[in-house]
């Protein structure tokens, strides 16, 4: 296969990890909640999916069902984490940043605790499902092997979310809650319901990113250790893609390309670089995010700004 095409296919498949996390975070931010717990939620999602796979190990459940159940388990894991987050920040009006960071500490801890049971020795207890996840290209030797079921799912989720947010009544209400909860409340929108619903579903979607990374992309028992840093990139990607899920499909591909640039670009361009320079390449996604952050704040266009009430708790009697 053409090395550049291989690079691109690889980057897109890695990028879907970011895409799922980012779509979930966009849903959350659109109702005015900055969820810094996304890295923890993604980790938990991966762990929950793996538990489900382990429970079904050796049973004679058909592959398609195994796939669906583990994806659902991952989604539900994220949903529960989202429920804790929204209970604390919506009902108890807690500080969103602190709650989010506590969610990350907790989620990453839970994941490490769960996943440390799968040592390299008994990783087969969930890795047996790798070929189901990588259907239909599981046997392929090129980067096409990562193009499994969840990759298409990620794109569909992003497109549907984008459609719902910009074209439907639910999406309109949702954005209204994020821009001005008091006004939304006044016209009869159930602010609490929208905040809970959007945050929980968003967390569920983000959780799929963790499972995707472990089962579809990496396919190893050690993969869970990297989810946290990928999760932070997913949070950053929200700004990069200007709170639009359909744009984040392209943006996450770009992030994927940057993320593996260190190992791919030198061979691709036929130049030899020092091994230590790889670390400078690995800095790229973060540096690019910072640059985009700066540019978008300097340009200061109205439609590219975060939801107006992002990060602020809503208390009805304080209007």
């Amino acid at each position: 296969m053409n090395p550049f095409l291989d690079y691109l296919l690889n980057a897109i498949s890695l990028g879907m990890t970011f895409l799922l996390g980012c779509t979930g975070e966009i849903l959350t931010e659109k109702v005015g909640h900055l969820n810094l717990g996304i890295p923890g939620i993604m980790s938990v999602g991966g762990a929950c999916g793996c538990i489900a796979l382990k429970l079904m190990y050796g049973s004679n459940i058909p592959p398609a069902l195994i796939l669906i159940i583990s994806i659902l388990a991952s989604f539900v894991g994220g949903l529960l984490m989202g429920a804790i987050y929204s209970f604390l920040t919506v009902s108890l009006k807690a500080n969103q940043n602190v709650t989010g960071l506590a969610m990350t500490t907790f989620g990453v801890g839970v994941t490490k605790f769960i996943m440390s049971e799968f040592s390299v020795k008994n990783a087969h207890q969930f890795l047996y499902a790798l070929e189901y996840f990588r259907f239909p290209f599981a046997k392929n030797e090129t980067a096409l092997k990562y193009w499994g079921v969840m990759l298409y799912l990620a794109v569909i989720i992003a497109l549907v979310t984008s459609f719902v947010l910009s074209r439907t009544r639910v999406g309109l209400h949702l954005r209204a809650v994020g821009e001005n909860p008091a006004a939304a409340d006044a016209v009869g929108i159930n602010v609490t319901l929208y905040k809970y619903g959007s945050t929980c579903i968003g967390s569920g979607i983000a959780a799929l990113g963790g499972l995707y990374y472990i089962m579809n992309y990496m396919g190893s028992a050690e993969a869970y250790k990297r989810i946290e840093s990928l999760g932070w990139l997913a949070v950053a990607l929200v700004i990069f893609s200007l709170w639009k899920p359909h744009l984040s499909i392209i943006a996450s591909t770009l992030f994927g390309m940057l993320y593996i640039a260190g190992t791919r670009l030198p061979t691709l361009l036929g130049i030899k670089i020092d091994t230590s320079a790889i670390y400078l390449f690995q800095m790229l996604p973060y540096v690019v995010t910072i640059i985009v952050l700066i540019i978008s704040s300097i340009r200061n266009k109205k439609e590219n700004q975060p939801p107006a009430s992002l990060g602020l708790p809503y208390f009805r009697e304080e209007r």
């Binding site: 009902s91 009006k93 602190v98 907790f106 973060y286 975060p306 208390f315």
Partner: protein, 361 residues
Amino acid sequence: MKNRKFELPFHIVKRDTMPLWKSLAVRVAAIVISLLLCSVLSVLLINKSPLVFFETMFKAVFSRDILIWQFAKDTAVLLCIALAITPAFRMRFWNIGAEGQTLIGALAAVTVAFYLGESLPNGILLIVMFAAAVLAGGLWGFLPAVFKAKWNANETLFTLMMNYVAMELVNFCISVWVQSGSGVLTPLSVGHLPTVLNSYFLLIAIVLVITVIIHIYLRQTKQGYEISVVGESENTARYVGIEVNKVIIRTMIISGAICGIAGFLIVGALDHTVSAESTVGGLGFIAIMVSWLAKFNPLAMIGTSAFITFLRRGTKNLAIRAAFPDIVVGTVLFFIIGCEFFINYKIKFRKANTTDKGGKA
């Protein structure tokens, strides 16, 4: 009937300030409940009875002199980073980059020791290391502050990304220095802080001095007052003639510089080396919660950092499996975060006969 909507049987009102003893009681209650829950978790997850859970925790922290010293040392490091982010947080500048600011300070200190260690006497070397760490940390605080002040760039994500830039820089430097490719820099033999009593005492003393200085800075000086005003309302600050941009940039340089000092202390007194994963190891994030728990009060932070360190050290050896401390700390934090609600708000239950007044009144 048709206009009747579902109503909750209670509604929430904001409290006036709660007396201090009462708010402390709520927090203690939250901690007790959360610890009870953690002991239940320990039964379920690691098969240890609640009694063993608490006993092991206390033993792991207080049973021997050396353990108490280590506990004090860990508390001091966490306290130092928490102190560093406090000025920024009082200004409502969400600096979650303490991890990177500390790490880059540590890297600067190690770099100086690595290149100049042979040629300088130890005293001067330490001073240069200190200066380098403060400058590096200050720079890491300065960059997000400038863009926040000038163009209102989101500081949360900016500082977060700077963490990873610092980590990759550390990885880069180590791979240049260590030719074997192991990725681990063996502890340097130069640039050690002098040993007083034991290798921890000096570090603890320095952090306590910093605590007092920060306390005085925030409470007694004009600059500290300006920070509070900007935190309360930027418009008010502008109205009374405070240069908001200057305050933001200055405060963030201070914040980053103290993180740099923390990095210097970790290198000079403890590790004598630097590593992207273990030098700071997530303390930058935990420090945010330490600072917040103490309501950004430097003296109260001694207590909160000791408490969090107690949880982390106490549960470290409880389970063979990794990461049980994170689960405990996370659970306790959820409860403390949640209990703030009961301090700031109160729940009023509706009386049965007043719920039906919707039609007429």
